[in-house]
């Protein structure tokens, strides 16, 4: 067993884990962050996407021990004071989910995308989400939701 300390959604967690434990299993089974899901287990689908030190990663392809001393944000850590993150609200408003299984990872990747490119074209949104698979929506409303967040934050920027 190895002792690790990871800050998860702002809370410092210290635990003894087996080195072979995947970050996604640590988050779900040890910390209880079941908002992060496992879709494929082959690192293709992106459902398990979280932020590690502010950058998106597939948590099924990272060991928990690799996160020792680092910061993780999951879908459960996006909302503040009970208010949805703008990306969560936009997914809701634009009907960007059906079964919802891809949604936690899709939202985490969409947030990362806008951080790196605040004003993406439709093409750039689609390419930026290429590591996240959705079996239900056909992606159309997901792209719309991300574009809506980009548009509202750029109008906010220009009005200040």
């Amino acid at each position: 067993m190895t002792r690790i300390t990871v800050t998860v959604d702002g809370v410092s967690c210290t635990d003894e884990v087996e080195p072979r434990m995947l970050l996604v299993h640590y988050l779900r089974e040890v910390v209880g962050k079941v908002g992060t899901v496992v879709g494929c287990d082959t690192s293709n689908c992106g459902a398990c996407t979280v932020h590690l030190d502010g950058r998106s990663v597939k948590s099924c392809n990272v060991l928990a021990v690799q996160a020792d001393g680092h910061e993780v944000t999951t879908i459960e850590g996006l909302a503040t004071n009970g208010e949805l993150h703008p990306m969560q609200a936009a997914f809701h408003e634009n009907h960007a989910l059906q079964c919802g299984y891809c949604t936690p990872g899709m939202i985490m990747q969409a947030v990362d995308l806008l951080k790196e490119n605040p004003n993406p074209s439709e093409e750039e949104i689609r390419v930026g989400l290429e590591g996240n698979l959705c079996r239900c929506t056909g992606y159309h409303n997901i792209v719309k939701a991300v574009a809506a967040v980009a548009a509202s934050s750029s109008s906010e920027r220009s009005s200040v």
């Binding site: 080195p19 996407t49 392809n61 060991l63 690799q66 590591g131």
Partner: protein
């Protein structure tokens, strides 16, 4: 899927990593970004007793200006390579190829060095590194040595890096002012290259003064299309097709569900022409 049990070691310097590896012998595996190794361990295609994580060795990360070349630390993540201004200015071909690898999440974790040592013939970093005449710095119990890219790739998943050794740095001669393009052929987004071509050219007065062309997935290792490189010298944009016709010469492409060897040979000539054309435009 969960890997078999292993002991985890996280050295903080290259010296410490080498001594940990020497002590562990055959039963140790080096972990870089884990984007190839962790799937392998999860599928239990390999079950090392010890895993030596290079992730805490800060000295192996980052891009340094070495005067006539760039020195890229083996543990520099793909996303940092793509975003780096020095790389974009002096080794544009590398940025063009790396930005096509996998997806953003995997590019945040996967490293340039890890991908080179993994040496998957369909991987996207071998061809540009070969075309840019890079030199690899390898350290082991016997000290440090440099290996030219032409001698680095030995076979499928086999390189000049032996057991107990580490790739520490990739040195890329500056190709300032060269245009470049990476033409990757896939059927769907987020797929490995069926074939890809890395081309970089120096244009003088509208025609090609120098050209470098690397091929992905046209054999067990990345390859240089030297016949094309020579034929391109003096070509203008209108005369590319003839010069690129020899792109598949001396290659040994695989046949699989995505296409047979003849199909890949044809693709190589078409993609080479497209890549060189784009590279001439900038």
């Amino acid at each position: 899927m969960i890997p078999a049990s292993f002991d985890y070691l996280a050295p903080t310097s290259v010296e410490e990593a080498l001594s940990v590896l020497a002590e562990a012998g055959d039963d140790a595996k080096v972990l870089a970004g884990g984007q190839s190794l962790l799937p392998i361990l999860r599928m239990r295609l390999n079950a090392p007793e010890k895993v030596v994580d290079l992730g805490r060795i800060e000295a192996l990360r980052g891009v340094r200006d070495g005067g006539d070349h760039l020195a890229i630390g083996a543990m520099t993540p793909y996303s940092d390579v793509v975003a780096n201004d020095l790389v974009r200015e002096h080794a544009g071909l590398l940025a063009r190829a790396v930005e096509t690898v996998a997806d953003p999440q995997i590019r945040h974790r996967g490293t340039l060095g890890g991908a080179l040592v993994h040496a998957d013939p369909a991987g996207d970093v071998g061809a540009p590194v070969l075309a840019l005449d890079a030199t690899m710095v390898v350290v082991g119990p016997g000290g440090e040595r440099t290996v030219p890219a032409t001698e680095f790739f030995h076979d499928l998943f086999e390189t000049a890096v032996g057991d107990g050794e580490l790739l520490t740095e990739i040195r890329i001669p500056k190709h300032t002012g060269w245009g470049s393009a990476y033409e990757k052929f896939v059927r769907v987004s987020h797929q490995w290259s069926i074939v890809a071509v890395a081309a970089t050219v120096r244009v003088e007065g509208g025609s090609i003064a120098e050209a470098r062309v690397g091929l992905t997935n046209m054999g067990n290792t990345p390859l240089r299309a030297t016949a094309v490189e020579q034929a391109l010298v003096g070509s203008s944009a209108s005369g590319l097709a003839d010069a690129c016709a020899a792109a598949a010469e001396g290659t040994n492409p695989p046949s699989d569900l995505n296409g047979d060897a003849d199909y890949r040979r044809h693709l190589a000539t078409v993609l080479t022409r497209r890549a060189v054309q784009k590279a001439m435009e900038g």
